[in-house]
């Protein structure tokens, strides 16, 4: 049988350590295949936000070119991952009284209640990135997934809203558009990562995803199958490197290398009192470095990062709902012992997330660093018309920013 040509979906993440473009192929019957990957070392980004436009543009160009070559396609548009300390989130509830005599909830009522919930006030300089629907509440009964056809007098809905400062969101968009490439949509990188590594059962049971990036740490909490909470913390692997450079009195480059070679999230008995005899760049012997100090500095930073996230979840009373534990991704998930540290702080099971739900370049892509890129492609795939097969949800699409359909698929 003759299939129409598969659609190309590209996810682009302009991260602090690397720019990563992932090319996916979406077949008409819904399967997603990763066919290309392009990477470039990022030079114009700090803490997840672009600080050097021209350098960032160059890196994006290089990453896209590599991805184009590998996938043998021409990239015209991308789904762009955004992050940054300015991104915030909140939950908002909308109310609607059912006007019909028989008191049966119709699709129009659902649209109205969502419209009411979207009527929130944001400062003028903020832009909404995502509006994610949580659960419906029918006559005070929470946790209703699909209220259409149910009898009820009062319909309420909770929305999770992620927003950021408009001008800072525009920075990466401008960089990409400057390369004559369209931006289909912007996606919060935490959400993108969660799409790549979290499985529906995990989301149902309650899970915390932490994306330990180089410049920024994003986290997303799912429970009962919906997004409960999202957050960012502008602390990442760069901070670990910087701490090491400060504490051990070495250069940033050397600190980075030390972190990757000897790093660990816990001090452990094996490093107590151990020193490393390192040679300088010229091969001359240098003063010895204390491995225990290195680990202590790293552990302090990672511990603090987790503790801040933990206290944020505690404030939102979400710590108890993490029945499926903690999933880590991003470059920071490679640090030895990081899962044990997370287990200690959150008190639940912790694993490094795997992007196993995607076909294609599996071996290459099953790395925690690519979770965001793959998640962006996934996000894009949900938005492509061919992937949307659900019935009435197509009507909600405009208002719900494609979240409904995505949750269905998952």
């Amino acid at each position: 049988m003759f299939d129409p040509a598969p659609q190309v979906v590209v996810g682009l993440e302009i991260g602090t350590s690397k720019v990563c473009a992932v090319v996916g192929e979406l077949h008409p019957h819904g399967t997603l295949n990763i066919i290309g990957l392009g990477q470039a070392r990022s030079r114009g980004v700090r803490k997840g936000e672009i600080v050097d436009n021209s350098a960032a543009a160059e890196d994006v160009r290089a990453a896209l070119a590599e991805a184009e070559q590998m996938a043998d396609v021409e990239i015209r548009s991308v789904y762009l991952g955004v992050s940054g300390a300015h991104i915030q989130s909140f939950n908002n509830r909308g109310h609607h009284t059912i006007p019909s005599h028989d008191r049966v909830i119709m699709e129009d009522d659902v649209r109205d209640v969502v419209g009411n919930a979207r009527a929130f006030n944001l400062p003028a300089d903020r832009h909404v990135i995502h509006v994610i629907r949580q659960h419906f509440i029918v006559d005070g009964q929470p946790g209703v997934v699909d209220p259409v056809g149910m009898p009820g007098a009062q319909l309420e809905v909770d929305l999770h809203v992620i927003h950021g400062i408009t001008t800072r969101l525009q920075r990466p968009i401008r960089v990409v558009k400057g390369l004559q490439i369209e931006v289909e949509n912007i996606v919060f990188t935490g959400i993108a990562s969660s799409l790549a590594v979290l499985s529906p059962p995990d989301k149902q049971r309650g899970v915390l995803l932490i994306d330990l990036g180089a410049g920024i740490t994003d986290y997303v909490v799912y429970a009962d199958g919906i997004v409960r909470h999202t957050g960012t913390l502008a602390v990442g692997g760069d901070h670990v490197t910087n701490d090491l450079a400060c504490g051990l009195n070495v250069s940033q480059g050397r600190a980075e290398a030390l972190k990757c070679t000897y790093g660990g999230a816990q001090v452990g008995p094996d490093v107590k009192g151990r020193t490393l005899a390192l040679s300088s760049d010229h091969g001359l012997p240098e003063r010895p470095l204390n491995l225990e100090h290195l680990r202590r500095i790293m552990a302090a930073r990672l511990e603090e990062t987790f503790e801040i996230i933990s206290s944020d979840l505690e404030q939102h009373r979400l710590l108890e709902s993490l029945h499926a534990g903690v999933v880590l991704c991003g470059g920071g998930a490679r640090v030895p012992g990081i899962t044990e540290l997370a287990e200690r702080i959150f008190g639940v099971h912790a694993v490094v997330g795997r992007t196993q739900t995607i076909s294609g370049l599996v071996a290459t892509l099953d790395q925690p660093e690519f979770a965001t890129g793959i998640g962006l492609v996934r996000f894009g795939a949900f938005q492509q018309p061919a992937a949307r097969g659900s019935r009435w949800t197509s009507r909600l699409r405009q208002t719900l920013v494609h979240w409904k359909s995505m949750l269905r698929v998952l």
């Binding site: 913390l233 602390v235 901070h239 450079a245 400060c246 302090a300």
Partner: protein, 447 residues
């Protein structure tokens, strides 16, 4: 005219005051203030006046008067501070006589005037030599009086700092900020005199040693002495229900305290609360709580007094020593010298301040041309004097503002190097700067 003829013979006795307190007005402004005090009636305080102007001195009702240089200048005022200094130095006997028998001498004068600027340091030294504590209360000239006067006042102030036990200054320009712009000049001047008078009153009240919580001269010295920074004072009064709060607010907005900025930058602070018989612990508590918060880095000396005349009211006298910047401290080592018990009077350097520089040294016959070697001023170079002057330029001074900013930045958090995040938006979480290495913030020791 014989100089000693101007000095009346009997010093009045002073039972309730600090034993042997004496207020001496130097120059025109000083005389005004002391006369004002005399009119109000200061029980048991001996008042005296010194001037170079015979006519002004003659019309003064003060019981003890000293005319400087009656023979040299024929009582026609001193043309510049150097002259009055020579005149004062030429009459050590008369000065000593004036200071004799007193334990505390408060010198009052306007440093913009020639007599005060020249003679006050000499008198302060004489007072100390005669065994009394010398406390100087001086006004600094208005901005409009010109740069020369400012420099002269500055120089004199520096000199006084090394000569006297304690110096408290009152910049006229700041007083002007207290008043409506359209206030007549005479009223403004009267107001300044009144302020100075109140300052003297406040000081005497403070030192009378009958307070509920005592402050004595040693405490005062602790605040104002040995600090290269300037001390300033302010008084405020409030009454009614919320008098404690009102009082704090008045102090916080007080122009003499730079609208409270002096409090925040205070290095040492002396506060004396005076209330009527109804002075409650709550009042004291409330005021002190606010003051402590406003001046958290300051060394605090606190006193409380009861004055039946103040029934229902609450008054506070605050003396503040500002923290000085390092260059200011370097410019004025006078603070250290102040601890020296007897600075040699004869070898006082001439200040080659800008404006005063280049003019011929006037040598009076009394002093003799060869008596003094004039070394370059060690305390204050012209640039330093200028810098001090610029900083002095009052609330509108741009440099003062500019200096205020870096103070803000110099939070302890920022002192620590942030490495590659030095120029990024700080990541602040609950008041912590997360860009600073965690192990530093948590005090994890690496040895």
């Amino acid at each position: 005219m014989n100089p000693s003829a101007g000095v009346s013979s009997t010093p009045t006795s002073s039972p309730p005051a600090p034993p042997g307190a004496r207020v001496i007005g130097v120059g025109g402004a000083g005389l005004q203030v002391v006369e004002g005090l005399l009119r109000q009636g200061l029980p048991g305080i001996a008042c005296a006046g010194i001037h170079t102007d015979a006519r002004r001195l003659q019309s003064s009702p003060l019981p003890r008067k000293l005319l400087l240089g009656g023979q040299v200048s024929r009582g026609l005022k001193a043309g510049e501070p150097e002259v009055s200094r020579r005149l004062a130095e030429a009459e050590p006997e008369a000065l000593r006589h004036l200071c004799e028998g007193a334990d505390l001498i408060i010198l009052v004068g306007g440093l913009g005037g020639n007599t005060a600027a020249g003679a006050m340091p000499v008198l302060a030294r004489a007072a100390r030599e005669s065994g009394a504590l010398a406390l100087v209360l001086a006004t600094l000239p208005f901005d409009f009086e010109g740069r020369r006067r400012q420099v002269q006042a500055r120089t004199a102030l520096e000199e006084l700092r090394s000569a006297a036990d304690a110096v408290i200054s009152l910049p006229n320009q700041k007083v002007a900020a207290l008043l409506d712009e359209r206030t007549p000049l005479t009223e403004t001047l009267e107001h300044i005199d009144e302020l100075l008078g109140r300052g003297v009153h406040g000081l005497l009240r403070l030192l009378r040693r009958d307070g509920l919580i005592n402050v004595d001269f040693a405490d005062l010295c602790q605040v104002v002495r040995g600090r290269p920074a300037e001390s300033c004072f302010a008084t405020a009064e409030a009454e009614g229900e919320n008098r404690a709060r009102d009082l704090v607010e008045k102090l916080a907005r007080h122009p003499l305290l730079d609208s409270g900025r002096d409090l925040a930058e205070a290095d040492a602070l002396l506060i004396s609360l005076t209330g009527g018989p109804d002075l409650s612990l709550k009042d004291v508590n409330q005021v002190m709580e606010h003051i402590n918060r406003a001046a958290e880095h300051a060394q605090m000396v606190m006193g409380a007094l009861m004055d039946p005349a103040l029934n229902g009211r609450l008054a506070a006298t605050v003396i503040v020593s500002r923290r000085s910047t390092p260059e200011l401290a370097a410019a004025a080592p006078g603070g250290e010298i102040a601890a020296d018990p007897a600075p040699p009077a004869a070898e006082f350097p001439t200040h080659d301040a800008p404006g005063a520089g280049g003019r011929e040294q006037i040598r009076t016959p009394g002093s003799g041309a060869s008596r003094h070697f004039v070394p370059p001023p060690p305390e204050l170079t012209p640039e330093q004097a200028e810098r001090l002057l610029a900083e002095r330029a009052g609330p509108a001074g741009i440099r003062r503002r500019a200096r205020g900013k870096p103070e803000q930045i110099a939070l302890p958090l920022q002192v620590v190097s942030k490495g590659r995040f030095a120029r990024t938006d700080p990541t602040v979480y609950q008041g912590m700067d997360l860009d600073v290495p965690t192990f530093r913030r948590r005090g994890i020791l690496l040895n």
